[in-house]
């Protein structure tokens, strides 16, 4: 898909040229899942884009000051929407599993 480039050294992508791409690890997972599923043919890119645009438009229309702008929140929601629409994984299943994960005992890395 892309040319194999050096990871470090003079030929490496200029890190000084970009800022941190993901502000939190989950953002890169959400990004990676969408790209992986797209590459595997799970959905088309226009389908995903439509869902993403709809999520962003909803946020802009609501102008909810309690919910600050977060691109990857919309990205994740769009991914869930597309998978839900297709019956691949329902939003309810994700919510249920997330609640289960939230109840893991203290000491797990989610409880700092």
């Amino acid at each position: 898909m892309t040319a194999p480039l050096d990871v470090d050294g003079a030929a490496a992508p200029p890190r000084a040229n970009g800022e941190l791409v993901f502000s939190e690890p989950w953002e890169s997972r959400a990004f990676g899942m969408a790209v992986t599923l797209y590459e595997a043919g799970a959905f088309t890119w226009p389908q995903f884009r439509r869902a993403l645009i709809a999520r962003i438009a909803a946020w802009e229309n609501a102008r909810d000051q309690d919910r600050p702008w977060s691109y990857y929140h919309h990205w994740l929601a769009a991914l869930e929407d597309v998978l839900d629409e297709q019956g691949t994984v329902s939003c309810d299943e994700v919510a249920t599993r997330a609640l289960t994960l939230a109840q893991r005992p203290a000491g797990h890395d989610h409880h700092h």
Partner: protein
């Protein structure tokens, strides 16, 4: 239960992401190692360096420059850069009197294969809204002061057209080779919010 910080709220995005990844993995729809590989690829291999190579070639090869401005997508593909979000790239050229700056008011269309993942400011609704209305002011705030004689064109990316700016080759770089030019070319210059400096 010890999740007081999250009681009464919907699960955090981090937890939902983890939940989704578990479910997709259990159903054999994704392999976490392949997801890792994609992320690593985008973080380390795909990025503004590809775009910089395109620009440096256009600066040093007039025939390539012509092809690039005529059909960006296929000229970029010639160098081996393609893939998702790499379709429909249109290249516009900055000159001493005309300046192009790219925005995506609708969403965040961005030519990943040549510029990597978009920077956070590009996705920010404030940038998206303001650069259309007052580009000169926004560019000045980002450190790029353009004279009043420079005509600014704001290019709005869509799924049909993803813009890539061909920046001006700076004076004083005439002796440099294509390879020596590449490190000078920044992502911001290819979005049109900065110029390329000679060194």
């Amino acid at each position: 239960m010890t999740t007081s910080s999250e009681s009464g709220e919907t699960p955090s995005a981090a937890l939902r992401t983890e939940a989704l990844e578990q479910l997709l993995t259990e159903r054999g729809l994704i392999d976490p190692e392949i997801v890792d590989a994609f992320i690593t690829n985008y973080e380390t291999n795909v990025g503004p360096l590809n775009g910089a190579k395109v620009v440096a070639k256009a600066w040093t090869d007039p025939e390539y420059r012509r092809r690039l401005l005529a059909d960006g997508t296929s000229a970029i593909k010639e160098l081996g850069f393609g893939g998702p979000q790499g379709e429909h790239i249109v290249v516009v050229e900055n000159t001493p009197t005309t300046h192009n700056v790219v925005v995506c008011t609708l969403c965040s269309c961005y030519p990943w294969p040549v510029l990597g993942l978009p920077p956070s400011w590009y996705k920010d609704p404030v940038y998206r809204a303001r650069v259309v209305k007052e580009p000169r002011t926004v560019l000045s705030e980002m450190g790029l002061d353009l004279g009043d004689d420079v005509q600014i064109t704001v290019r709005d990316s869509t799924s049909e057209v993803r813009w890539l700016v061909l920046p001006e080759r700076p004076a004083g770089t005439e002796h440099l080779t294509e390879e020596e030019l590449v490190p000078l070319i920044t992502r911001d210059a290819m979005v049109g919010v900065a110029k390329v400096a000679a060194a």
